[in-house]
Homo-oligomer: 152 residues x 2
Amino acid sequence: MSIISIRRAREADVAAIVAMLADDELGRAREDAGTPLAQAYLDAFAQIDADPNQLLAVMTDGDDVIGTLQISFLTGLSLRGARRGQIEAVRVAAHRRSEGLGQRLFEWAIETCRERGCRVAQLTTDKTRLDAHRFYDRLGFKASHVGYKLQL
Amino acid sequence: MSIISIRRAREADVAAIVAMLADDELGRAREDAGTPLAQAYLDAFAQIDADPNQLLAVMTDGDDVIGTLQISFLTGLSLRGARRGQIEAVRVAAHRRSEGLGQRLFEWAIETCRERGCRVAQLTTDKTRLDAHRFYDRLGFKASHVGYKLQL
């Protein structure tokens, strides 16, 4: 029987998370999922894990990591000093897609944002990810903004 | 003589920052720049100021606060564990626009992101802010993403 749960990521999950980030048409070129795992990923995990305003989560089925996302809790002065929950690096393992797991992961993320007092949940997604756009539309997100990136 | 500088914001700057956030066609409806300043803004400032991964900045001309932006330094596993600098809540005081101050503020923000080891600078802007789009295009940002928001 499948027992799916969602929890805070641990260091032991990092390789599985990176494998999901890399297993994607955009991720393939920019990640390095080779073994041993590049130290840069472990260093980044340590920074994320130590920051109370960051929450890297995994969805698991038994011992298998089958999904991930990261929430950054961002307080600003805008919107009368509102906190926002920013969701990034969302993936469901390729062999577990089309089971509604992404929706379950997102419902958890949105509920977590509410519990942490966020007034807005926000994310950006590449213009080419048309399936993702339909997914976020269905969840009630509004595509109200343009997302700009500058490589440094 | 005008002496313009950019520095970390202090609590005494918050009222001037909120006034700039409110003096805007989208900001007017969602901010409260009345006096005494709503405590929620001061509480939010305290949280931002205490977080080493947040930098709320002001541009000043002598004693006058004439611009603001906030940078969030966000570490993720994506892009081989990259840090990103996310720029939000950008404003130049209405009476000081068209002097190139926004560009100067942004050049400072981008340099600050580089100094803090960011591989990417990112931001979102409302689809209706066409002048802002031209500004970010000129600075070399790529409008590669769609920005989604969900009110909670």
